[in-house]
């Protein structure tokens, strides 16, 4: 059903695997670990994004010292690396780390 109106640049950079349907925590004993990891990582990703936005906002306002910017940057860099490792371990993609909240839309 894809209807491309226009495109530019390296389209491989935009490729995303098809989203599994439905997205939910499975109660199957063999996959429950992955399902729980998905839920926990979704919450960590939410906190990471909130903290990242807060840090960017404070940096923008000039309320962070150079040392604080460096420390926060390193923290987010390491957190992003660790998240990538965990996503790879549990075979999760960026778009798996989300929750639909019904009328409130998506969590992330």
């Amino acid at each position: 059903m894809s209807r491309v109106l226009t495109s530019h640049g390296d389209l491989d950079a935009l490729s995303e695997p098809m989203r599994a349907f439905p997205s939910r925590v499975s109660a199957d004993p063999e996959t429950v670990e992955r399902g729980l990891a998905q839920l926990v990582l979704t919450l960590i990703e939410l906190l990471r994004q909130l903290m990242e936005r807060q840090a960017l906002r404070r940096m923008d306002e000039g309320s962070l010292s150079d040392d604080e910017v460096e420390r926060l940057g390193l923290t987010f860099m390491k957190l992003a690396d660790r998240m990538d490792e965990l996503k790879e371990h549990f075979e999760l993609r960026d778009e798996d780390l989300n929750l639909n909240l019904g009328p409130l839309g998506d969590l992330l």
């Binding site: 059903m1 894809s2 209807r3 491309v4 109106l5 226009t6 495109s7 530019h8 640049g9 390296d10 389209l11 491989d12 950079a13 935009l14 995303e16 098809m18 349907f21 439905p22 994004q49 990242e52 840090a55 960017l56 940096m59 923008d60 150079d66 910017v69 460096e70 420390r71 926060l72 940057g73 390193l74 923290t75 987010f76 860099m77 960026d94 778009e95 639909n100 009328p103 409130l104 839309g105 998506d106 992330l108």
Partner: protein, 207 residues
């Protein structure tokens, strides 16, 4: 059982497209708003095939009505009465959203501001500043595109930015040309623009 596909206003006809269970489509008048439904004899599997069939019905509805509010694939209602009861408290909001998307379709734009380049990781400060620069560039692209749309939404998914725009039907091609112009001013961005789609991103109430 009643499977709900969408709410519609100014529904001129029902498309010939078959529903998730191969059923013919039908309409349920909720009072100025039509619910487009299918009557099923048994529940259909919640799998990709059913989701695609649901999506095809919604897309087929777009040219048949002045306004279409897609409904997510979900559990069926026990009866038409159960559907009416569930929809009744939400009708005011549904009418309002139908009015907002009237005569419009959704155009999706997905972009990565710096293609596949990873963020600079020399040190913490440059990482954070690079992150801020990328976000600002994405916001700039979004703001430029939103100028020519009725409404727009931007969401981040890791290194990708996904945006949706509500565009008046006759202006879709002009909007695509505007996307071309904006993309050319951001030479490093990888970008793909698709549509027209049913206005999924504008169908639900958001804060």
């Amino acid at each position: 059982m009643i499977h709900l596909y969408a709410f519609a206003h100014g529904l001129r006809s029902l498309p010939a497209e078959r529903g998730v269970g191969g059923e013919l489509l039908d309409r349920e008048d909720l009072g100025g708003v039509d619910a487009v439904v299918g009557e099923l004899h048994e529940a259909v599997a919640a799998d990709a095939e059913s989701a695609v069939a649901h999506g095809r019905v919604v897309e087929a509805l777009v040219p048949c009505a002045d306004a279409v509010l897609p409904v997510r694939f979900g559990r069926p209602f026990a009866s038409r009465e159960a559907l009416r009861e569930a929809a009744a408290p939400q009708l005011a909001g549904i009418r309002e959203r139908l009015l907002r998307v009237r005569g419009c379709v959704e155009v999706a734009v997905r972009f990565a501001e710096d293609g596949r380049e990873p963020l600079r990781r020399d040190d913490g400060a440059s990482y954070l500043r690079e992150l801020a620069r990328r976000n600002a560039a994405a916001e700039a692209i979004h703001a430029a595109l939103e100028e020519r749309a009725v409404a727009g939404r931007l969401e981040h998914t890791g290194r990708l930015f996904r945006a949706a725009y509500l565009v008046r039907r006759p202006e879709v091609e002009a909007f695509a040309r505007h996307v071309d112009r904006v993309a050319e001013t951001h030479g490093d961005a990888a970008l793909v623009c698709t549509g027209p789609w049913a206005p999924y991103s504008f169908a639900e109430e958001r804060a």
